[in-house]
């Protein structure tokens, strides 16, 4: 049910992530010796093609948001490259990054925290235009009101403060701000997870409409697989800073190879009660390990129902498994066969 079939996804790569790594220093307070490093993003290689929507899913703490912030250079990379339209932006200075920001914008998760409570929404939406000198005075106001119209806000509410809007309307303000510079790529960092279910659909539909209208490319981050499935052409699954599986949307849902993907799928609600009855839930045991102290070998092995000795000694590489083609790599030594269900303990 990919909702963007008419947008011809060509193979031109708009954004390429090349072994992106982001470690945070966790400090060495007191007597602890050496620097402890928090491995938030640990070697992510990914391509986003012009016009597509790439979904990125994973539990909280898997490094999705950090990856998004690395891409738009709100965070500096520890190593690796981010290539936007053929330009490596990871090593540019802050000043040199500025013109490139107009090609790439971010929609934030929290519609409350991401809008300055002391500024009127008109000036919030105008901010990207003002900063990048794209308009002044009356012309600026017209641009802002046009943007408000495009995202379904009443342009007459130009002078209101964020507190006077509902969560969904605020998120529309965030969308308008991201749209202001007419970017080619928009990174949506869980754009609907803070909203009510009924509002989620409205925002998703808005994003899809805008994509069709402006030929946008999305990197769509979420922890809810059903939403990602609805909007994405391809989906990448992230676990503890690494991509563990990447596939076309349909293929990932029909033939998950990685037990973690299967577990996520089984955890997401299904509207079909029959499917629900026949499906076995795979309950993951234990917590996500600390990114300060990663397991040896495969980082999922501590919670994986299929883990064996090999998993502890050797880290599986992200490559096609079980005869899949190159578009569907998975990082697992013991991938799931077609229709196979990960061995869970008793459901």
């Amino acid at each position: 049910m990919s909702s963007v079939p008419e947008t011809a996804v060509n193979t031109e790569v708009i954004l390429q992530l090349d072994n992106v790594v982001k470690y945070f220093d966790a400090g060495s307070r007191g007597l602890a010796k050496g620097h402890r490093q928090l491995r938030a993003v640990d070697g992510v290689t990914l391509e986003i093609r012009r016009g597509e929507t790439l979904g990125l899913v994973g539990e909280s703490g898997s490094g999705k948001s950090t990856l998004a912030r690395c891409i738009v250079r709100l965070q500096r990379l520890t190593s690796g490259r981010v290539v936007l339209d053929g330009v490596d932006i990871s090593k540019l200075s802050r000043r040199d990054v500025r013109p490139l920001r107009t090609k790439m914008q971010l929609i934030f998760q929290d519609p409350f925290g991401s809008l300055n409570p002391r500024r009127r929404v008109g000036s919030i939406i105008a901010e990207p235009l003002v900063v990048n000198r794209r308009g002044k005075g009356l012309d600026l106001q017209q641009q802002v009101q046009e943007l408000m119209r495009q995202v379904g806000l009443n342009p007459e509410h130009y002078n209101r403060f964020p507190a006077q809007f509902s969560g969904g309307q605020r998120q529309r303000v965030g969308v308008a701000r991201a749209l202001a510079l007419r970017p080619e790529l928009i990174i949506c960092d869980e754009p609907v997870s803070a909203l009510d279910i009924s509002i989620q659909a409205q925002i998703i539909n808005l994003l899809v409409d805008l994509q069709n209208e402006f030929r946008l490319t999305y990197l769509f981050i979420a922890h809810d697989l059903t939403i990602v499935r609805h909007v994405s052409d391809r989906i990448a699954v992230m676990y503890l800073g690494k991509i563990v599986e990447l596939a076309d949307s349909e293929q990932l849902f029909e033939r998950p190879r990685h037990p973690y993907t299967a577990a996520l799928l089984s955890a997401s609600p299904t509207p079909d009660p029959d499917a629900l009855r026949t499906r076995r839930r795979i309950a993951l045991t234990g917590d996500v390990p600390s990114p300060l102290d990663l397991p040896s070998g495969c980082r999922f092995r501590t919670r994986c129902p299929r883990a064996q000795d090999l998993c502890a000694s050797e880290e599986p590489s992200l490559e096609p498994r079980l005869g899949d083609d190159a578009s569907h790599p998975a990082a697992c030594h013991f991938p799931l066969g077609d229709g196979e269900i990960a061995q869970a303990e008793t459901p």
């Binding site: 809008l115 300055n116 409570p117 002391r118 403060f161 006077q164 202001a180």
Partner: protein
């Protein structure tokens, strides 16, 4: 504050949805506060009297520094108590205390407002820079603020004045120098909290520079406590000025200020109570009015905060 008053009761989200800007909200709350209104009225009277001091002097017919040896002193040379010609009496030199108190108010308000403005400006800029850039910049500026706050005000002021000599501007600079550090600390603390908000990241993501983020995104969010502190800083600056003048290191006589009038009253006040009561009362009323207004503003802003 009745529970039934829709503006004052707890549901702020509803309130925010029906109202306009934060400034107007605060003003709406202040208007309901009788103490705040009384303070504003008192301060307005004092300010008007100060501004129009020459007009009042002209109407009364007495200058601030003129000695009325014939009419202002008894035949034996004793100063007169309050009477129809001299509302607040005369001092030992036969000058009109009423007119001198009004002229003294000019100095007090001038020093209070100007010193506070300088202190706020410096404090806001230094606090923003320290909080925003953090690290070594923050360390240096914060330690500097600690040093300023730990300097003994009077000893420093006496030492400085003994070198450069007393004057109005020296008083203002000295008072501002000893006041900005507290503003700086408040702003720094607020900035530290605000700069972690997501809307700061959002501004950075659209390409806003450091200056723009500091002054357009952060500053409006740190102004509330600064405004409250400023209303409390004005009276303390006025008292500082009075202290300096009282000690003879502030405003130079014969220019009247409430502080040096109190100082001049010292040898006489046991027999001539009006020497000390009128300038003292002026100082007291002004200070109290500013303090009460500051409290009211703080309360109004506290309610406005989400």
């Amino acid at each position: 504050m009745s529970e039934f008053d829709p503006v004052i009761s707890g549901d702020v989200s509803h309130l925010a949805a029906t109202s306009r800007s934060a400034t107007r909200l605060v003003w709406a709350r202040l208007r309901r506060d009788k103490v705040a209104i009384s303070s504003i009225v008192v301060l307005a009277i004092i300010a008007l009297a100060s501004i129009f001091a020459p007009v009042i002097a002209h109407l009364v017919g007495h200058g601030p520094d003129t000695q009325y040896l014939e009419t202002g002193l008894s035949p034996a040379g004793i100063p007169l108590g309050p009477n129809r010609t001299f509302f607040f009496g005369t001092d030992d030199l036969g000058r009109d205390i009423f007119i001198r108190v009004i002229y003294g108010g000019r100095i007090s308000l001038l020093v209070g407002v100007v010193a506070t403005s300088i202190a706020m400006f410096v404090g806001v800029v230094i606090g923003l820079v320290a909080g925003y850039f953090g690290r070594i910049v923050d360390t240096i500026l914060s330690r500097f603020m600690d040093v300023v706050l730990s300097l003994p005000f009077l000893i420093f002021a006496i030492a400085l004045v003994s070198i450069v000599g007393p004057s109005l501007w020296v008083s203002i600079i000295v008072i501002a120098f000893f006041s900005w550090a507290t503003v700086g600390r408040i702003v720094r603390g607020q900035t530290l909290a605000i700069k972690e908000r997501e809307y700061i990241e959002a501004a950075r993501a659209v390409g806003a520079g450091d200056l723009r983020i500091m002054f357009v995104e952060i500053l409006p969010n740190v102004m509330a406590p600064v405004i409250v502190y400023a209303t409390l800083l004005i009276p303390s600056a006025i008292v500082f000025e009075a202290t300096l003048s009282f000690l003879g290191i502030g405003i130079v006589p014969p220019t009247p200020s409430w502080g040096n009038m109190l100082a001049e009253s010292l040898p006489f006040f046991q027999v001539s109570w009006w020497f000390v009561v009128f300038p003292g009362a002026a100082l007291l009323v002004t200070t109290i009015a500013f303090n009460l207004l500051g409290d009211a503003v703080r309360d109004a802003l506290a309610e406005g905060d989400r």
